[in-house]
């Protein structure tokens, strides 16, 4: 694995894409995906992630730049010669063919013999536990079953690279979670490289080896899920991944990995400088809701404290979600586990909250 990581299997080199010659949908994209990686392109709609996937599949041409597959440029190779498996948003199972015929199709066009086709189709169907459905039509299957068939069809000709374009978007929550697990499991078992597009951050975090966060045609950050969540590099990523509290202010001084920030309310707090460089800059300080503590006994040594007023308490079962007013921000959320000794805050009370300075990141304004 470590050896394969060194050489990129899929590579985007300075890729740009424009549809109308006026607006760049993808701006100067550089991305290297090692063999066997599960990479997710995450971003809001219109951020350029699907365009990137379509360029990789060959359905869109890059306006500028080079896309390499296994070291070879593929810009001029038509989609059917790229040998890339693809799962579409609405599955795109051929309605006039049975499940078996659907799976057999990629093998037929690749001129496999009949017995070999049958063996491969059977193996692929067994892989997704759909062996009994070989003679059904797609319309007779449920959404989840169609999803599995689409997956099997993308894998049946044993491609090394599989692209997935929001494949779980049409499923309900429970089924989606089950399929997330099945897809990652299968991908790792087969050792295939997967490029997965979604706008669902939970999906991205639970499934991927690495996540590339897209916004405005640019990759904002590319990192493993835990790093992405815990150390967002800019305020877009911090906002987009998970829930996040922001406090705005100005950098007073930066000293030895600690930035002193004067909030707009006048409070002074320490934070970790991420992309602020000099005093006088405006900054957004970001703190995750679950890193905020209001129980004095549990506050660790060296934690910051600020005054807060409880505005709303929401019981959510496994967790409590409390909305506070902190330093002039009415949307400050804290999350606490529903533990036996947990205090349920009542709206209107004045409390003191605190967090560790390293959990508090000074980002771009």
């Amino acid at each position: 694995m470590a050896e394969a990581q060194t050489k990129a299997f899929v590579e985007f080199q300075r890729v740009q894409k424009s549809y109308d010659g006026e607006v760049l949908v993808v701006k100067d994209l550089n991305l290297a995906i090692p063999r066997g990686e599960f990479l997710t392109m995450l971003g809001p709609s219109g951020s350029g992630k699907t365009t990137c996937l379509m360029m990789l599949a060959g359905f869109e041409t890059a306006t500028h730049g080079e896309i390499l597959l296994d070291g070879k440029p593929i810009n001029n190779i038509p989609p059917h010669k790229r040998g890339i498996g693809m799962v579409f948003q609405n599955y795109a199972l051929f309605p006039h063919m049975t499940v078996g015929e659907n799976l057999s199709f990629p093998l037929e066009v690749r001129k496999f013999g009949k017995s070999e086709r049958e063996a491969k189709v059977k193996r692929a169907l067994d892989m997704v536990e759909m062996g009994d459905f070989i003679s059904r039509r797609p319309a007779q299957l449920s959404g989840g079953q169609q999803q599995r068939i689409a997956l099997a069809r993308a894998l049946v000709f044993e491609p090394e690279l599989v692209l997935m374009d929001e494949p779980l978007g049409a499923l309900d929550k429970q089924l989606r979670e089950k399929m997330q697990f099945e897809i990652t499991d299968l991908a790792h078992k087969l050792g295939i490289t997967v490029v997965y597009v979604t706008h669902d951050q939970t999906e991205a975090l639970t499934m991927s080896d690495r996540v590339a966060v897209f916004n405005d045609g640019v990759i904002q950050q590319i990192a493993p899920p835990d790093e992405l969540y815990e150390s967002p590099e800019n305020s877009f990523v911090a906002q987009f991944i998970g829930e996040n509290n922001t406090l705005e202010g100005v950098v007073k001084e930066i000293n030895g990995g600690v930035a002193l920030v004067e909030l707009d309310s006048g409070d002074l707090i320490d934070s970790k400088p991420v992309n602020v460089s000099k005093p006088g800059e405006r900054t957004r300080v970001s703190i995750r809701p679950e890193r905020v503590e209001y129980n004095k006994d549990r506050l660790q040594k060296g934690a910051h404290t600020l005054k807060a007023e409880v505005l709303e308490f929401i019981y959510m079962g496994d967790i409590f979600r409390t909305r506070l007013r902190v330093a002039g921000n009415d949307e400050f959320i804290i999350k606490t586990r529903n533990a036996p000794d947990q205090v349920r805050l009542t709206p209107g009370t004045q409390i003191e909250i605190g967090w560790m300075p390293e959990d508090c990141r000074a980002l771009d304004a």
Binding site: F59, I84, G85, M86, F88, A92, F94, P95, P106, R153
Partner: protein, 416 residues
């Protein structure tokens, strides 16, 4: 809840089925009420006249009403024996009345349809009928020896039937003898079967041409962005804004010997000035003009079906390794078949009853069944035969419809 027979019951004990019917009754009445005015209109001005007219293809009471005595006298005659004196007497009596009432022309026309050349026989005999004395058979034969010919009496026997398959038989180029047997018309009088065949041939060819020309256009329209495809759609619909007559006459200007097309052929050296193509007043003219006029009826259903085929199907096929052609033929085309079915059926059925265009540009060999129906309606005034031709055509179209349903399946047709 269930009753003893096992059917479901509602809470108050009435069978669920009846309860449901009751609860749906009001909305059904309302739906029916909304459709009622149109339904009444269609029944009065469309369904009833058609049924009444179709009845004429098997019903003709003219001879029976105008020659009542003769009809009665012939009722028991089976045509194998010689005509009786009783029949002759009844005939003479009827002829006297017919002459007086001036209905003899209608009678003569009716019998003449069964046996041509008998018209003058009837008018001539009727003039002298008053003076005839018994025995009437001899008097008739003395007047004209054709009365001795049993064929004349056979013709009258056939004409005297109120419900008669004679017209339908005639529409199929056959004739019925007095004993009820059916034989083919003599060779030079067979025109209808050939005409039906030609109508089928023209309709079939027009459908094929429309498909060949329309499919690529519909495909293009379905794959272009909405703005462009709307513009193309307007262009497709543009011909509907001009009258059918104008479009057809425009083709005359285009295709005639000294017309635009032939001039171009001469300019480009494809034809010499003396030997120009005859593109109009023949089957070619009918085919060209009808293909043009019916093309939108092929494009529209095709377009509306193709629009619903998501582009991801073809993409999926290509991602699996299919070439452009394979992706089209194995994935896209099968899904456009419902549109082809709908368009082809629409064009074919419209073409089969086409009238103005073949009448104007068809010449001799471009005429269709509707043109001969028109001829019998307006010129020969043989409405019964016109109705019979219409009935034969209707039955034939129904048959094709049935075949289509068996082969393609009528559910497998989509108009949009």
């Amino acid at each position: 809840m269930m009753d003893s027979s096992g059917s479901l019951l509602a809470v108050d004990g009435t069978p669920l089925r009846r309860k449901l019917a009751q609860s749906m009754f009001r909305s059904r009445v309302r739906a029916f009420g909304l459709a009622l005015p149109l339904l009444a209109f269609i029944i009065v001005v469309f369904v009833y006249p058609i049924l009444d007219f179709l009845r004429q293809s098997v019903y003709d009471a003219r001879f029976a009403t105008l020659m009542p005595a003769t009809s009665e006298a012939m009722a028991d005659w089976d045509g194998s024996t010689a005509p009786t004196e009783e029949m002759a007497a009844a005939l003479v009596a009827d002829l006297v009345i017919a002459k007086k009432e001036k209905t003899i022309g209608k009678v003569a026309t009716r019998v003449n349809r069964e046996l041509s050349g008998t018209r003058s026989l009837f008018t001539k005999t009727a003039r002298n009928a008053k003076k005839m004395k018994p025995p009437y058979m001899e008097a008739l034969i003395k007047k004209d020896k054709d009365w001795a010919d049993i064929e004349t009496w056979h013709a009258m026997k056939t004409a005297s039937r109120v419900y008669t398959p004679a017209y339908i038989v005639a529409a199929l180029d056959r004739k019925m003898l007095a004993d009820g047997s059916i034989i083919q018309q003599s060779e030079e009088r067979r025109i209808h079967v050939q005409l039906f065949a030609r109508t089928m041939e023209i309709s079939f060819l027009v459908t094929i041409f429309c498909l060949i020309l329309g499919y690529p256009i519909a495909f293009l329209m379905a794959s272009l962005p909405l703005r462009t495809s709307n513009l193309l759609l307007i262009l497709v619909l543009l011909p509907f804004w001009t009258s059918l007559l104008v479009r057809t006459t425009a083709w005359i200007a285009m295709l005639q010997a000294q017309g635009v097309m032939n001039d171009l052929f001469v300019v480009f050296g494809l034809a010499t000035d003396e030997d120009r193509f005859s593109l109009i007043y023949n089957k070619t003219g009918t085919l060209i003009a009808m293909t043009h006029i019916l093309l939108p009826f092929m494009i529209l259903p095709l377009f509306s079906v193709m629009k619903t085929i998501p582009p991801s199907y073809v993409r999926a096929a290509k991602s699996m390794g299919a070439t452009d052609w394979t992706a089209f033929w194995r994935v896209y085309f099968p899904q456009s078949v419902p549109g082809i079915g709908a368009g082809a059926l629409l064009v074919f059925i419209l073409a089969i009853g086409y009238y103005i265009t073949p009448a104007l540009v068809g010449g001799q060999d471009g005429q269709m069944v509707s043109n001969i129906i028109d001829f019998h309606m307006r010129k020969s005034l043989n409405w019964n035969l016109a109705a019979a031709l219409g009935l034969v055509m209707l039955v034939f179209v129904m048959f094709l419809f049935w075949v289509y349903d068996r082969v393609v399946g009528i559910d497998n047709m989509k108009l949009g």
